[in-house]
Amino acid sequence: MTPRIQENLIAGALLVIFGVFALICLRFGPNARLVPLPMALLGFVLVLGYLLTLNIRSTATVTTVKNETDGELSKQSPRELQAFAGVTAFVVLIALFGPVIAVFLFSSGYLVFSGYAFPARSIVIATIFTTIIYLLFVVGLQLQLYHGILEPIFR
């Protein structure tokens, strides 16, 4: 997928978002929509203007390929998918098992997956991580823990 198509897709999604926001605003009373409606319309117009600039003007520059730090993010789609999958997996683990077990499972899994350490060493490092975070948040800050959706099964 070329950078121009990617830019168009993102701008298209934003156009839909601002359009939906504007339509929803129409259902609010005059006070509640006083600021959001003009802002949603402004956003819609801005995205439209950007799309026109991107596609009509011959001199339009697609800046996607140049990232703010290294300029290489757009060429890394397999690792990109892994990054999204990793974050999703962590969130799912927290929802299923609660944050403490999730930190242990994610850390040990990540260390094995990345090839940084063998399973036994990964488990040791993950245990240290989990203990530090447990001491910080649960003991130090007295955070009430969530035990996950699966808690009733383990009881």
């Binding site: 006070n31 509640a32 950007y50 290294d70 690792r79 990793g86 974050v87 999703t88 994610f106 007295q142």
Partner: protein
């Protein structure tokens, strides 16, 4: 006058007060370094421990922790591009590029020294300026606060370094995200899509952890390598360089401190605006504004001096009128009341010793924080060079735990993940995350004050309120300035 100043200091010379000050500063630094857990969380967690101790000791614990969280937040902004709290956001823009260039020690040294100098200015101001500032504060109304918030938004003109279209789109998107939840004026639920969670709006710390911390870890994984471009052994700067920088830019420190004081004195404006405004004024008044965003030390000094001074300013309305200058001050106010301290004009007459104790606490806590900061800076500077295989799971774990800790809701963890993905996509396609965050911070202030201004002063309030009009003209000028500079630069390049 000298008697209450001395009595205020003597009250702090007990073993319990000294111990509590040390505990408060250490605890504040630790909490400040954890993403999303700023001064508000630190103070909230300390509230149960405020009973049954000496008054001066309890104040040392609370104020010491509060002062230390500010610099703690700056550390993560500089090293990991992860603002510890909204007020530390401006440190990301130049502090992190400095860390990437192997100048983390210099950035941390400049940050700690600027915060100290700003804090001292704030404390001195708190001690001597109450009679002067009171009439100015009372002269400002909601329309002036609206102008302050709009000024914050116009800073975007400075930040939109790349595509102006994308900068403006990100700003508008940030405003729309902030409008999710109950309308602050009429109580109408907006954009909640039937979800009770969304009725409360998107939690700001949660969104910020996702947009910056999670997204940065995703970026780090995708690009590989370490956060810093150089390895720690190649760190070329020293903490002393940063200290010298802060002193050599003394005029910038003074200007930024005064700005921080002013923002702190205004009730409800908050330090988030102060840090960004300080950054903008530093960029706008610099002879070389093109260096900003690429690792200019002035971009670190200005926000930190403002944040340091902001605390002294914020205490002023809290003590003198019982009006908190921001969220943290609101929690302090609750703590004061629970300790039997009743803020108000009478306090400045009858309990002057206590007021000066607080001034001394600010001074000592700032000194202690800076001392500890300068000692640990060189070690902290090595963190960005850690292996990403260790850093990514550790930072992500702290981030998701931090997101969960903000309200104890697992859905906040999911929202953090969503904002992480959004932050990554925004960084990849060069939509400014800073613009989105600034807009989120200022949206409620703009909306609330616009409604009140229209209700109180009518539709033409800008022209009927002289101070508002002056501020409006000032905003117009400061907004036009970057465009004018860009135009002049282009003209010079063409000629």
């Amino acid at each position: 006058m000298s008697e209450p100043i001395l009595a205020g200091l003597v009250a702090l010379a007990t073993p319990q007060a000294v111990l509590f000050m040390c505990i408060g500063v250490s605890y504040g630094l630790l909490i400040g370094i954890l993403p999303g857990l700023g001064g508000i969380v630190a103070l909230s967690l300390l509230l149960p421990f405020t009973y049954g101790h000496e008054l001066a000791a309890t104040l040392s614990l609370l104020l010491g922790a509060h002062i230390a969280t500010i610099w703690g937040g700056s550390v993560t902004s500089i090293l990991f591009k992860v603002p510890g709290a909204a007020k530390s956001l401006a440190l990301v823009f130049d502090g992190h590029p400095m860390a990437q260039q192997g100048q983390a020690s210099r950035a941390l040294g400049a940050s700690a020294t600027a915060a100290l100098l700003g804090g001292l200015v704030g404390a001195i101001f708190l001690a001597f300026s109450i009679p002067i500032v009171r009439p100015v504060m009372l002269a400002l109304g909601p329309s002036e606060y609206l102008m302050m918030a709009l000024w914050g938004l116009t800073i975007i003109a400075t930040f939109s370094d790349g595509s102006l279209w994308k900068g403006l789109i990100a700003t508008t998107l940030g405003l729309m995200i902030a409008f999710i939840g109950m309308d602050p004026v009429s109580g109408t639920p907006r954009f909640w899509f039937g979800s009770v969670y969304l009725l409360d709006g998107i939690s700001f710390p949660v969104a910020m952890i996702g947009l910056f911390a999670v997204a940065e870890m995703m970026k780090l994984y995708v690009k590989g390598g370490t956060i810093a471009d150089r390895i720690a052994s190649e760190e070329r700067s020293s903490v002393l360089d940063g200290v010298k920088d802060a002193f050599s830019h003394w005029w910038l420190v003074c200007r930024s401190s005064l700005l921080g004081l002013w923002i702190g004195v205004l009730p409800g404006v908050g330090a988030s605006v102060g840090g960004l405004a300080a950054y903008a004024q530093a960029a706008q008044t610099s002879k070389t504004p093109e260096r900003f965003g690429k690792g200019a030390v002035e971009g670190v000094i200005a926000p930190d001096a403002t944040l340091g001074a902001n605390e002294g300013g914020g205490l002023m309305p809290t003590l003198a009128f019982g009006i908190p200058g921001g969220e943290s001050m609101a929690i302090l106010l609750v703590a004061f009341l629970s300790m039997g301290i009743v803020p108000g004009p009478q306090m400045l007459i009858g309990e002057l010793d206590l007021v000066f104790s607080m001034v001394w606490i600010i001074v000592i806590a700032n000194l202690l924080t800076t001392l500890v900061g300068l000692v640990i800076s060189s070690r902290l500077a090595r963190l960005p060079a850690l292996s990403p295989n260790i850093l990514i799971p550790l930072v992500l774990s702290v981030c998701f735990f931090g997101a969960f800790a903000t309200r104890g809701l697992v859905i906040d963890v999911i929202v953090t993940g969503i904002f992480g993905a959004l932050g990554y996509l925004m960084a990849k396609h060069e939509y400014s995350r800073a613009n989105l965050v600034i807009a989120m911070v200022l949206a409620e202030m703009i909306e609330r004050n616009l409604h009140i201004s229209l209700g109180l002063y009518g539709n033409n309030f800008i022209f009927t309120r002289p101070i508002t009009l002056v501020m409006f003209i000032f905003i117009a000028i400061t907004t036009a300035l970057p465009f004018y500079r860009r135009y002049r630069t282009n003209q010079d390049a063409n000629s």
